[in-house]
């Protein structure tokens, strides 16, 4: 067990001096440690946790913390967002790329409620964020005081854990517990609500910090049980048409290498969920693409045909399964998952394996036999050829004057060699980014999968850039999504974060329009947007950019974007009524997949 006592700054130590004249003057000088305020203890706790960056927005109920932060600027980088929702999404982007919890700092009431969408998003996508929220004085709690909101009550259903601190002494222990819970097991958001008096008052004891290593009632199982592994291995070894679906859990547990070793030994083809994309390089011969409502044709059909299905670090979301009762009808399911509540929740598992994806793969590898599955894995090629002919070739062919979304993503993929981090917002452009970008490195697609939060990409992109400045971060955003959080251009400009953003502008809420076209007789109910001049807005914030509307300008436009060492916004005017295919209509079986 590691116990650390915080470093004590010079002004916090006073050497006992002539102030006290006692007979023990000859005794060694005692060090009196000046107690920290709750706000100082919070800062020190964050330093102890290794936090480097905080995304936040000050306000009345969090001012003592911001005052303390003033003295910690050399150790804690604070990024002032333009709206608290931006702080939450930025923290998510930071966490998704770095694997470390993202930290938000906001005030009470509206400050806290503005975080809600981001917290719910982090819960859906198992993203570790720690939200530190100011609260009114403890003596005012429950009195409808100014800017008081029951943050604990409001966030209870959308957090992994939340806690209200009402005294300074609680701060170190609760913060260490918050970070431990947020990032262990199945990660998730944690909210810590801190009453203003707890921020202001002095601790009654010297500050000391012990990193939380266990919580009695919370024991995530990392190492799977051997009998579960053996049963899974037996199913795998006897399978004729096994298939693997990898989810976000593989990236969270950093199991990419183990996954490659596993599929190469067993010869099992693999598909990913939306959030599992980039866990396997897109050009790997065993990778069949992604699965689900807009996933690849081959992946959906192979799920329908496989005899053993291995769900690895994924949760059989309804966007993946379609009609769950008709999902993988011939398959015995092996479900490898760290969260026991996910087992049998949607799809009944013949062989559940509760544990961390990486640990499970390490232990499964010696139990599985080498195999080839040549005929089965090659089936994918014929489906891929069908999809290419019916969907991809037409989508990439210049048939009209207007540019198409796939052309943009495809060219971007080639120009960046599949190495960039794509941060996709939510809608048609998100599906195109998933389908046409050829991911080569892990953690290369950051998007809002479970909640489908429009406005996610711009703040998540700068969070990701802060999380890993070495990588090229490109946000792909629809014109509708962009207008939900465009004010974060100000954050990007002020902090000189070289984030690149591409707006795929079709003047529509494209995905809704597509559904209205296909399922509501083209009754385009309130989906057309009268858009502003996005480039003028960007320039107003101090971000350079330009608009591309012609095919012959696309290559040069992308070159300009990629060459910029500053934030840059490229608006691409695209075909208005373009649809995303393949598509599994909601509530149907994946076998009902439509190619056109």
């Amino acid at each position: 067990m590691q116990t650390t006592v915080s470093e004590v700054t010079e002004q916090q130590v006073q050497v006992e001096s002539s102030r006290v004249a006692t007979p023990e003057v000859d005794a060694p000088a005692k060090k009196l440690i000046k107690p920290l305020t709750g706000a100082e203890a919070l800062m020190q706790s964050l330093v102890e946790e290794g936090v480097e960056t905080i995304f936040g927005y000050p306000g009345g109920a969090i001012m003592p913390v911001y005052d303390a932060l003033y003295d910690y600027q050399d150790r804690l980088n604070h990024i002032l967002v333009r709206h608290e929702q931006g702080a939450a999404h930025a923290a998510e982007g930071y966490a998704r790329i770095s694997g470390r919890p993202g930290v938000c700092l906001v005030t009470s009431g509206p400050g806290a409620t503005n975080l809600i969408t981001g917290i719910a998003d982090a819960m859906s996508d198992s993203t570790p964020i720690v939200c530190l929220v100011g609260q009114v004085f403890a003596s005012l709690l429950g009195t409808d005081a100014f800017q008081e909101t029951d943050v604990i009550g409001v966030t209870m259903p959308i957090t992994k854990w939340n806690y209200q601190i009402t005294s300074a002494d609680e701060i170190p222990e609760i913060i260490s517990k918050a970070f431990y819970i947020a990032q262990t097991g199945r990660p998730g958001p944690v909210v810590i609500d801190i009453a203003k008096n707890a921020q202001q008052e002095l601790m009654t004891k010297a500050f000391s910090y012990k990193k939380c290593e266990k919580v009695v009632s919370y024991r995530p199982r990392l190492i799977p049980k051997q009998d579960q592994l053996e049963k899974a291995a037996e199913l795998i070894n006897n399978a004729k048409r096994p298939y693997i679906l990898v989810g976000h859990g593989v990236l969270i547990s950093k199991a990419e290498k183990e996954l490659l070793a596993f599929i190469e030994k067993t010869g099992i083809p693999v598909a990913s969920t939306l959030l599992g994309q980039s866990a396997v390089p897109c050009d790997h011969p065993l990778y069949t693409g992604w699965l689900g409502m807009h996933g690849n044709y081959g992946s959906n059909v192979m799920t329908d045909e496989c005899d053993v299905l291995i769900g690895l670090g994924m949760r059989f979301d309804d966007r993946v399964t379609g009609n769950a009762s008709k999902f993988a009808p011939q398959a015995k399911v092996i479900h490898i998952e760290i969260d026991p509540a996910e087992i049998d929740k949607i799809i009944k598992a013949e062989a559940p394996v509760v544990g961390d994806a990486k640990e499970a793969l390490i232990r499964l590898l010696p139990l599985v036999k080498e195999n080839d599955h040549t005929a089965w894995r090659n089936e994918f090629r014929k489906y891929d050829a069908i999809e290419y002919e019916k969907v991809k070739a037409p989508a990439l062919a210049p048939t009209t004057e207007k540019l198409k979304m796939p052309e943009v993503i495809d060219m971007l993929s080639k120009k960046t060699n599949g190495e960039a981090v794509m941060v996709a917002d939510v809608g048609q452009h998100q599906m195109m980014t998933s389908a046409y970008y050829q991911y080569r490195r892990p953690h290369s697609l950051i998007t809002s999968g479970g909640l489908g939060t429009m406005g996610f990409a711009l703040p998540a992109a700068f969070g990701a850039k802060v999380g890993d400045p070495s990588r090229e971060v490109i946000a792909i955003i629809g014109d509708g999504c962009f207008q939900m959080t465009l004010q974060e251009l100000g954050t990007i400009a002020q902090n000189k974060l070289p984030v690149k953003a591409i707006i795929l502008n079709n003047n529509y809420l494209g995905m809704v329009r597509q559904w209205q076209q296909l399922f509501h007789n083209r009754r385009y109910s309130f989906v057309e947007l009268q858009n502003p001049d996005f480039i003028m807005i960007a320039k107003g914030f101090g971000v350079d950019g330009h608009t591309c509307s012609k095919r012959e300008d696309l290559s040069a436009s992308l070159d300009t974007l990629l060459a910029s060492d500053k934030p840059y916004l490229l608006e691409v005017i695209v075909e208005q009524e373009e649809n995303v295919f393949p598509m599994v209509p909601a509530g149907t079986s994946v076998s009902a997949i439509r190619l056109e």
């Binding site: 604990i152 009550g153 209870m156 259903p157 992994k160 854990w161 209200q164 819970i181 919580v215 009695v216 009632s217 919370y218 024991r219 969260d339 026991p340 509540a341 087992i343 049998d344 929740k345």
Partner: protein, 177 residues
Amino acid sequence: MNTYTICIFTENTIGLLNRITIIFTRRRINIESLTVSETERKGVSRFTIVIKHESRDHVEKLVRQIRKIVEVMAVFGYLDEDIVSNEIALFKIATPLGATPLDIEYINKHFNAWVVNWQLDYVVIEKTGSEKQIFEFFNYIKPHGIIEFVRSGRIAVGKTEKGLVEYLPDVEWEYYL
């Protein structure tokens, strides 16, 4: 429709009741009764929640969902035959002058019910037992005029040799009692 008794062991912290009941709300499951008290282990609370449900599968999913709560240490779901359970009810019965007198001996012997408070115009009778037994007594006593009736939630222990607290995470628990 089966009756399930769900026993939940938790840390004794503020707000946990909300956190647990919200899971029932989200799954649209009605809580028939709910009892909470501290166990023989210090700092460990025990929730006993009774629900009715058609699908055992759904109840198992509910149990797993409850177990996800950070402060929850263990959750057990039982059918009636797996537990010994009891409830308590209090009946305030009118005893005005001239009314049919209460047959206290019969009440004691046949219903195991006891008068716990005598007043001039009413008595309070305590009856413990199963829901069925309590309502049998309810029907017997009803003609006397029930001024007030209150029934507790169910409390239950499992019919296993081990105490449920033995299944809690392995730490040095301090006895509360």
